[in-house]
């Protein structure tokens, strides 16, 4: 066993919620509002619905092989070498995806808070921390996340309540002002984020009760969806349909204008805290999955020696991926949703599940 840790269903749910929520509140509200305007919330609800299907798909696949990860069972389904190829595809997801996450983490910090600091400083700091967490295994960052997540979600609720005097719910009217096609387009980016629940396929074998994976995935998508909906509706009723599409971080702008009795002001560090804690956990999960994946695909005895080299790759990647923030937002808004959904979140799992069913591989209880 490469990874000796075991986590409970509740811990896994928390972990997956952070995995999705930590980055979805950054760029996605702006991307969705760009397409759907004040109907962005309908897009989100559509995305939650479709996200539940993805959750069902990936857990159905994972539970056919409850003691194996997605790096191992493709070998059983497709044969040794094609299976290794699928494993490599997923390793690539966890590496490339993590590069993007780290870059988003750095861009928020440099754009909004510390414009004079070179972005690589933030990347180095968070990757160093994540490397330490990953070396210590799944249980370590899972437990850290149990402390962070309630604070993150609680802060979102508090920020929403504090913003109420900036809100005007008539800004959501008229409902269905956008074209149906635009509302669906707006749903793609959030669906990609909800679809990241596919990462649960790396965690299922380390659950105390793998059979509860279905519930973990569904609860994750629902809870994340509700909190994201809260954030998006908040942004829409504060800024109306036009502005969120022009902001790079609309939720941050929402927090910036909070002013309660001229005393409670400038609450954007709360957003920074949410992002630092959540971003750290998310980066750790992807980092750990990549290390574990490489070890499993190459059939190594331990993944720990891989941690530092992967960290170096991640930092380099995070800098080299995008020349500027516009490139990053285009990639997050247009490229990744299509690329991620079609390859990692729906395409490959569906292919694997169908093949497994046809060939009768794995546990057929589901």
């Amino acid at each position: 066993m490469l990874e000796g840790g075991k986590i409970s269903s509740r811990q896994a749910t928390f972990l997956m919620i952070t995995l999705i929520f930590a980055t979805v509140i950054l760029f996605v509200p702006g991307v969705t509002a760009k397409h759907a305007g004040q109907d962005a919330w309908i897009s989100i609800i559509l995305a939650i619905g479709a996200g539940l299907l993805i959750a069902r798909l990936v857990t159905a696949l994972g539970l056919r092989f409850p003691d194996k990860t997605i790096f191992e069972y493709p070998g059983e389904i497709l044969g040794r070498w094609p299976g290794k190829l699928v494993g490599l595809i997923y390793i690539w997801w966890f590496l490339h995806g993590n590069g993007e996450i780290i870059r988003q983490y750095g861009e928020l910090m440099t754009t909004a808070f510390m414009p004079d600091t070179p972005i690589i400083v933030f990347h180095l700091a968070v990757v160093a921390m994540a490397a330490y967490a990953v070396r210590n295994g799944l249980e370590v960052f899972t437990r850290a996340n149990e402390i962070f997540l309630p604070l993150m979600l609680g802060s979102i609720i508090i920020l929403f309540i504090f913003s109420i005097n900036n809100m005007d719910f008539s800004r959501l009217l008229p409902v269905l002002d956008a074209e149906a096609a635009d509302i669906v387009k707006g749903a793609v980016a959030p669906l990609f984020w909800f679809g990241q629940i596919a990462a649960i396929t790396t965690v299922i074998p380390y659950l105390n009760k793998p059979r509860e994976a279905h519930r973990v995935a569904v609860v994750t998508v629902l809870v994340t969806g509700c909190f994201f909906l809260l954030a998006v509706v908040g942004v829409l009723v504060i800024f109306g349909p036009h502005h969120p599409a022009t902001y790079i971080f609309p939720v941050l702008n929402g927090a910036r204008i909070i002013s309660i009795a001229n005393i409670l002001e400038r609450l954007e560090p709360v957003i920074m805290a949410i992002w630092i804690a959540g971003g750290f956990v998310k980066i750790s999960i992807f980092y750990w999955a990549a290390a574990l994946g490489i070890a499993q695909v190459l059939e190594l005895k331990d993944y720990r020696p891989l941690v530092l080299p992967i960290g170096a790759v991640l930092v380099a990647m995070s800098i080299l991926l995008h020349p500027n923030i516009i490139d990053l937002t285009v990639s997050v808004g247009r490229v990744w949703p299509v690329y991620g959904l079609s390859v990692f979140e729906v395409g490959t799992p569906l292919l694997l599940l169908v093949t497994a069913m046809v060939r009768g591989k794995g546990d057929k209880r589901d």
């Binding site: 754009t111 909004a112 808070f113 510390m114 414009p115 004079d116 600091t117 008539s170 009217l173 008229p174 269905l176 002002d177 800024f239 109306g240 036009h242 502005h243 022009t246 702008n253 910036r256 204008i257 002013s259 001229n262």
Partner: protein, 397 residues
């Protein structure tokens, strides 16, 4: 032992790197901007005027004034030109010894000339820069914005703070930068911003005060009306009340009307609560807006000596109050529809909410449609209380 030493080193290391020395700026290295003004300079340049706080003068010393110690200036007002706002700010670096910090800016004053040419050219910096706040108050100066910032305040420490408080109390119309920008982004409305002027307020008190520049204070004297991003004209304070009524933003205020039995004497009502509802109606040809305003007031002053404690008198007062609100809002509406031809009352937004399909056809020429729209204003006034008195106390019976 080696491991222990390494750990110790790792623990001490964060002390050095997390101390935040990277781009730290102590408060005594900052020039804090309280208010900024934007004017047009020759050669199509922009002149920005900054009201910078002088932290040393903010200490107790200034309070002691009154003759003995010379009163220090609490702000420093500097201006510089450039092709853009940011360029002008950079040019100021040659004059200002400290780092210009925008994080506490309270007001942004747009000079009349720039406002007439268009606000979009100059407002972007203030919403794009992470340091400035979207919640700063936006005002339009009658004349030059720089002159407004050169004023003083007797009650507050700086005139920027004074204007900030005036705006926050919403006695007149006031608008934050973010709301102004939202109005600019919408096709269904046009922005408006309060007009500020420097006035001589109050009399010099005590010896040695006459020659000082004090008592030149900023006052809100009306509202600037925009068509898209260009200033097209002004509303005076009474028309501003009408505008607030049409916008549904009346929070408080008074209504003065002739006393029902003695028309040459007046009574004043204090508004407790007010509400405006705009219901658009569209039959394919004419656009109609039914505006229903309700207000609840209390009678707080009576010049006349008649007995107002009869239900029919109260009714007459209510009628007169409603008529007053009706007249004020009609006057503003006529000015907006006739003279300026611009919808500053969010009527287009209201229309959009109800008729989203028809809106798509007319949204590009909303201001023209608005000019021809029919607006029916109905006001309902309720007099709820009469203060501590029922009849007048000082009348011989």
């Amino acid at each position: 032992m080696n491991k222990k030493a390494a750990f110790l080193f790792l623990i001490i290391l964060p002390l050095i790197i997390l101390g935040g020395c990277w781009s730290r700026r102590e408060i005594n290295e900052l020039a804090i901007v309280l208010g900024a003004g934007v004017d047009r300079a020759p050669d199509n340049k922009i002149r920005i005027t900054l009201q910078l706080a002088r932290p040393s003068a903010f200490g107790g010393g200034a309070e002691a004034g009154g003759g003995s110690a010379p009163k220090q200036n609490i702000v420093w007002v500097v201006s510089e030109t450039g092709n853009t706002v940011l360029e002008a700010e950079r040019n100021l670096v040659l004059k200002v010894s400290r780092h210009i910090h925008w994080g506490h800016e309270i007001i942004l004053v747009i000079g009349e000339e720039v406002a007439r040419e268009g606000v979009r050219d100059v407002s972007n910096f203030f919403i794009r820069n992470p340091q400035t706040r979207e919640t700063m108050w936006l005002l339009v100066a009658k004349g030059e914005a720089g002159k407004v910032l050169e004023s003083h305040s007797e009650l507050e420490k700086t005139s920027s703070q004074s204007v900030g408080f005036l705006s926050r109390h919403k006695a007149g119309f006031s608008i934050m930068l973010k709301d102004f920008q939202m109005a600019l982004a919408s096709r269904g409305t046009n922005p408006a911003a309060p007009r500020v002027e420097v006035q001589k307020l109050g009399q010099p008190q005590g010896p040695g005060m006459e020659e000082k520049l004090q008592h030149r204070e900023v006052a809100i004297t009306g509202t600037g009306v925009f068509k898209d991003d260009k200033l097209v004209g002004w509303l005076d304070t009474s028309e501003t009340r009408g505008m607030l009524w049409l916008l549904g933003e009346v929070k408080k205020g008074i209504i003065t009307i002739p006393s029902p039995g003695q028309p040459d004497k007046l009574v004043s009502l204090n508004i407790i609560r007010a509400d405006t509802r705009v219901v658009p109606e569209y039959d394919g040809e004419t656009i109609r807006f039914n505006v229903k305003m309700t207000l609840q007031g209390e009678l707080l002053e009576q010049q006349s000596t008649e007995d107002l404690t009869k239900p029919e008198k109260i009714e007459a007062v209510e009628m007169a109050a409603a008529r007053d609100v009706f007249m004020k809002s009609t006057a503003t509406l006529e000015k907006a529809q006739g003279e300026y031809g611009t919808d500053i009352f969010n009527f287009g937004e209201a229309f959009h909410r109800k008729y989203k399909k028809d809106w798509k056809k007319i949204k590009d020429r909303w201001n023209e449609e608005f000019v021809n729209a029919e607006v029916n204003i109905a006001v309902e006034a309720h007099l709820r209380r009469t203060g501590l008195l029922s009849k007048r106390a000082s009348v011989k019976r």
